[in-house]
């Protein structure tokens, strides 16, 4: 079974990503599946009745299309056709912050170790590492930094709202002075 990083642990991936499914006939009999947005939009109720269905979004798909589905979808995947295409980062933030999606948010496609930290900060909690790379090795990418200046999915307060709170010495270098 393919491997997946989920909630910072490498696990077996039970889900099947259906990149080209265009109708219900293209779906396997059982097994949890991740379907394209277009198919979901055509067959919402039939798919929901099937249970264990997730939807994947292409970079050009507007997360607004899932606004009324976020509460019933256990999984939304965001595709990265190339890792340099950064649109999925904004898609993820909107799903978490605007639409309050609480389920599994999975990065799929050209997903590599060196992008994991930022992906996680934008709200992804699952990563289908590209199949020619080792998920266990990639795992360390989630720990490249210990904190962020900005608000993230796991720390809603930006650093400027936390500086000097709790950590006693945070204010000492802030003494006025030019040199």
């Amino acid at each position: 079974m393919p491997k997946l990083i989920k909630d910072r642990v490498v696990v077996d991936d039970a889900w099947t990503l259906l990149r080209d499914a265009a109708s219900l006939d293209d779906l396997p009999a059982a097994a949890p599946v991740i379907v394209p947005l277009a198919l979901w939009q055509q067959q919402r109720d039939a798919l929901a009745a099937r249970g264990e269905v997730g939807v994947w979004l292409a970079p050009t798909d507007d997360p607004d299309a899932l606004a009324r589905d976020v509460h019933r979808l256990p999984l939304i995947a965001v595709d990265f056709p190339q890792f340099t295409d950064g649109r999925g980062y904004s898609t993820a933030r909107l799903l978490r912050e605007k639409y309050h999606f609480l389920g599994e948010l999975r990065a799929v496609g050209d997903v590599l170790r060196d992008q994991l930290y930022y992906l996680q900060a934008c709200g992804f909690n699952a990563f289908a590492i590209r199949s020619d790379r080792d998920a266990n090795q990639a795992l360390t990418g989630l720990s490249d930094f210990s904190d962020n200046y900005q608000a993230t999915a796991t720390q809603p307060l930006p650093l400027f709202r936390r500086r000097g709170i709790g950590e006693g010495d945070a204010s000492s270098p802030g003494q006025p002075g030019r040199r």
Binding site: L112, Y117, F145, R163, G177
Partner: protein, 552 residues
């Protein structure tokens, strides 16, 4: 200046560790060339024509003497003993080895410097007015806000893979010395009627193939909302900016295609969603940042220094230097001094490691241990006592940094060009030098007055040729280097884009072409007109006629 606390220091240390590991994996073949490219670019590392080029950030142009000494040391140890100051307040080394870059970054981190996001499709170094904090015309000191934006943009997780590079310029003065109108986002610190500080925000300016002056997206933004608002602009760009064509990928194209009004509507809708939330910057944070930029301990000097006045009267060479290279300071008895990196025969913006060390010593002796880098590729001491200007001038002359040409024709802004850059179509440095050699008569240069001459080796426009009063663009015609000339460009609050005068020229013709343009100006100018004023009044025709009548 700003000093790192434990967080800032930890982040850049972690960055060095991260990049060291990425470089190791690349050299071991575990990461492909394509996968490594954006990683190295976001650490300032280009692969250039002859060697890698490392671009080090000088955030909003501010440097301490200790930092400059480290740059000098790096130039000596890892490069060929010199560096190049760029038009975006960065410093470039042209000959480092890829294997050494993690060590260089580690040395930089020790003096609170880095090369983070100086390249790649991300938010680049934040730039500002090189006279920030000392200019008499300033409304708001932009530096605390620059530091706020530096932190916000550093490792911003959502905006590391934008369609294209993204440049933000900040100004706190009505005289725009930071070329904010040609930035992807221009931020003007202003005050409302009640005296509250806020921002005018511009978007979609830029040079390159499609030069455009930025549009105002919001006249007044409450200061606490700045990051929420910039997030909303960036999110629009990240989601909808073109990714299919590198030449149409900048935000200016998106704004142009949507229209500024539709663009604004979308941005403001997204801003409404987060307005007033956790992303609001509290006044305490702004005060904390501002405390780093408190004025240095100025002496209480009563007005103009008399010995300085006397020296100006006695010494013509000194007086010329003061006229061109010294700018008034808001504090009586102090002055702002520009060190010209535009000596004829030296590539504009270049400084050797020995010169950097010497400048660091002078900064300690004369200007509270700090200096600035300008987007015109010069260095600045912002806090020099008038009484010490004469001795400082002597020291700068010995260093080769006292060429009294600031703002004049020979203060040429110039990219590294085809001598170094793999993007360039043509060389730019030899063109600059040939023009400097032609105009070697200082009296004549003074008589000509202010003329901005900008040279770019390709349409990426690193030399900002569109906003030069005279702009020179290197082009490739059938494998040969040619130069297209435009006139009428200007920077600042009256920013305008130059117009091309006609077919391009061979390198050898360039000094003649510039001379003919200047001749028309000298013959036709009225009273105190500057070159740009005469071009605006007369239009292109008389200049064109003269240049092409004699050239062809």
């Amino acid at each position: 200046m700003y000093r790192y606390d434990q967080y800032d220091q930890r982040f850049i240390n972690e960055r060095v560790v991260q990049f060291r590991d990425q470089t190791r994996r690349f050299l071991a073949g575990e990461v492909t060339e394509d996968e490594f490219r954006p990683l190295r670019l976001q650490n300032g590392l280009y692969i250039q024509k002859y060697a890698p080029m490392l671009r080090i950030a000088i955030p909003y142009g501010l440097l301490s003497s200790a930092q400059l000494r480290t740059l000098a040391h790096i130039g000596r140890k890892y490069d060929r003993g010199y560096g190049h100051f760029t038009t975006r307040q960065n410093l470039q080394f042209n000959w480092p080895r890829l294997e050494d870059v993690p060590d260089i970054l580690e040395e930089l981190a020790r003096v609170q410097m880095h090369a983070i996001q100086t390249s790649g499709n991300c938010v680049r170094n934040i730039t500002t007015d090189h006279f920030a904090g000392v200019a008499g015309d300033e409304i708001v000191d932009p530096r605390p806000y620059c530091e706020l934006l530096r932190q916000w943009s550093t490792f911003h997780p959502e905006f590391a893979y934008l369609p294209r590079k993204f440049k933000i310029g900040v100004s706190g003065s009505p005289v725009d010395r930071a070329a904010t109108l040609i930035h992807d986002i221009g931020v003007h610190a202003v005050r409302d009627d009640a005296g509250e500080v806020g921002f005018r925000v511009l978007v979609g300016g830029g040079l390159g193939r499609t030069p455009i002056i930025g549009h105002v997206i919001r006249e007044f933004l409450p200061r606490g909302e700045i990051l929420n608002y910039l997030d909303a602009i960036m999110r629009m760009y990240n989601r909808f900016g073109r990714r299919d064509n590198k030449w149409k990928a900048r935000i200016k194209i998106l704004v142009k295609d949507m229209g500024i009004d539709a663009f604004r509507e979308h941005v403001e809708a997204d801003w409404e969603r987060v307005r007033g939330g956790a992303g609001v910057v509290p006044d305490e944070e702004i005060a904390r940042l501002a405390s780093f930029f408190d004025a240095p301990p100025y002496e209480d000097l009563s007005g103009e220094d008399t010995s300085f006045r006397a020296a100006i009267a006695d010494n013509r060479a000194f007086s010329n230097w003061v006229k061109r290279n010294v700018f008034p300071h808001k504090i009586p008895g102090y002055a702002v001094v520009t060190l010209s990196l535009k000596k004829t025969g030296v590539p504009p913006g270049d400084a050797t490691s020995d010169q950097m060390d010497a400048v660091a010593d002078l900064a300690d002796a004369y200007s509270f241990g700090e200096l600035r880098v300008s987007h015109e590729q010069n260095l600045i001491f912002t806090d020099v006592r008038q009484a010490e200007l004469l001795t400082l001038w002597g020291e700068l002359k010995a260093l080769g940094f006292a060429t009294p040409n600031i703002g004049l024709l020979t203060d040429i802004v110039c990219c590294p060009g085809g001598d170094f850059c793999s993007l360039a179509n043509a060389k730019s440095i030899p063109i600059a030098e040939s023009i400097q050699r032609r105009f070697d008569d200082l009296d004549y240069l003074y008589d000509l007055g202010e003329i901005d001459l900008n040279i770019s080796g390709c349409m990426n426009a690193c030399g900002h040729h569109h906003i030069g009063n005279i702009g020179v663009l290197g082009v490739d015609k059938n494998g040969q280097e040619w130069y297209q000339v435009s006139i009428g460009g200007d920077q600042g609050e009256r920013a305008s884009l130059g117009k091309v005068i006609g077919p391009s020229f061979a390198a050898a013709e360039m000094p003649d072409v510039i001379e003919r343009l200047v001749d028309v100006f000298v013959e036709r100018r009225q009273e105190d007109e500057r070159f740009i004023d005469t071009v605006r009044r007369l239009g292109l025709e008389p200049f064109k006629e003269r240049v092409y009548a004699e050239a062809h």
